[in-house]
Symmetry: C2
Subunit: 260 residues, 2 copies
DNA sequence: TCAAAAGTGTTGTTCATACACCCATGG
DNA sequence: CCATGGGTGTATGAACAACACTTTTGA
């Protein structure tokens, strides 16, 4: 939208017209490469994990990094390529074999990282997304990856040695989901489609990195139920001791305070 | 970060790496244009306003749009150009004459819009920022704009007829500040450096589009004071009737719940 | 003196936290 | 029977909302 012509607009014969033409002939200006990076979360064994990929080539060879790829840009007027969201979904399928619509994966734009020098080869601007994958789907990962090593890494065991500025990217993503957990329904995206109170609580504890009082959490859970956010589901869950009721997330029910 | 070489990346020797990079630099893939758009807010007459610019050229000639410009990308290894943040700051100065550091303007990345076709001329990916400008500085705008019309437009009087997808951009920005107002100190960025309780309340009302109970808001105000977020400032503010005490924002005091 | 805005008090509701407690089941 | 975890009750305090109320000023 910002447009080159807009400000200088009146195409009279000013010195500004030069830059007008330059801007319009898009090839004159150098353009950055634009990629989409994906921070993919899941919860395994009550532990928040991120999908990392071991880099096979330079730079940062043998370092762990977050999966990502170039945004497909068309080459003309007719074809302007894919959207950022589509690029992110495509990347998710390529890396994990998981399809967003089919598996009801939550995918949201996180932040755009564009500091010069973050990729030593060239100017790269990277639009980061984060995805929340249900535990049951986590296994699919092995199949989707081509040759490169992929692994679920606990956010607690993760050092500060990721490739590029991916430490920052992952850190930002963690902050985001921690912040959103309390006032948006993202917690349900990290739990099986039917779940018990304790399972949801485990997710909350994994994300926030602290313990919740079981009784208080149950009350909070009940409030969500009366608000129509969750509802009982048929069946029970077998635990170590007493079997527990299972619930499911109600897609239509609006979360309190989530007008957006 | 996603990298081209990463996935394919079986490049063996270091010697090869240089030439590999050179080879890669040749633009095999088409790249998008990347711009920075700016949603600049201020509060005038207890009304939330956005700075819009009338477009002089096509497309969307004579439509109102949000200011924006291209991100400067270097053309080589040494120079990779300016960061997104720098581009946003530069754009702010160019359009309004306001300097971020000097005038303590709040500037934050909002969202990245990249749908194909949003600019009919070419593929444009636009990283949007929003800025919060104190009322006293709003006048500077007239000076900074070159030829093109610029105007503070009330968000309430704004239709759905902005250029490109700028309706969406502005709408997203409004949502953002509405959401952040309650749990972050952004409200102080829309008020003079010293302010009264009523002035801050007016800002809150302008942003949220609803009225706050003066008594209750005062209590909330006091709580911020005991929390060390704001402190009394010397002087008084002359109002229509009874003069009011003025306060100032304490830069160091951390906002409750704003760990990030 | 009167309107308007500054400033205070009171009450009720909701929600988070802490913590004590009962109940059912598998070992 | 007994430990574990499912499930319930109660008390406290913080914060918000609604609303009545007093005080201070300029016109």
């Amino acid at each position: 939208m910002p447009d080159p012509t807009g400000k200088l607009g009146h195409d009279s014969g000013h010195a500004e017209e030069a830059s007008f033409l330059q801007a319009y002939r898009s090839q004159e200006y150098p353009k950055p490469s634009v990629t989409v990076d994906l921070v993919i979360f899941t919860v395994i064994d009550s532990d928040l994990k991120v999908l990392l990929i071991k880099r096979g080539g330079h730079p940062y060879k043998d370092c762990w990094a977050v999966p990502g790829g170039f945004v497909k840009v068309g080459d003309g007027y007719d074809d302007q390529g894919e959207s950022l969201e589509e690029a992110a979904e495509r990347e998710l399928v390529e890396e994990t074999g998981i399809e967003v619509t089919k598996h009801e994966v939550y995918l949201e734009q996180l932040y755009t990282f564009g500091k010069p020098g973050r990729d030593p080869r060239m100017r790269v601007i990277s639009v980061a997304y984060y995805a929340l994958v249900r535990p049951g789907l986590a296994h699919v990962v092995q199949a989707g990856t081509d040759a490169s090593e992929a692994e679920w890494v606990s956010v607690n065991e993760m050092g500060e040695n990721l490739a590029f500025d991916h430490d920052n990217v992952v850190g930002t993503a963690i902050q985001r989901i921690r912040g959103k957990l309390d006032y948006s329904p993202i917690g349900f995206q990290l739990v099986p489609k039917t779940f018990t109170v304790a399972e949801l609580r485990a997710v909350y504890e994994a994300v926030q990195g602290r313990n919740y009082d079981p009784g208080n959490f149950r009350r909070r859970f009940k409030r969500m139920q009366t608000d129509g956010i969750i509802e009982p589901a048929p069946g029970k869950r077998q635990t170590l001791t007493k079997p527990a009721k299972v619930y499911r997330f109600v897609m239509g029910g609006r979360f309190p305070g989530s007008s957006a």
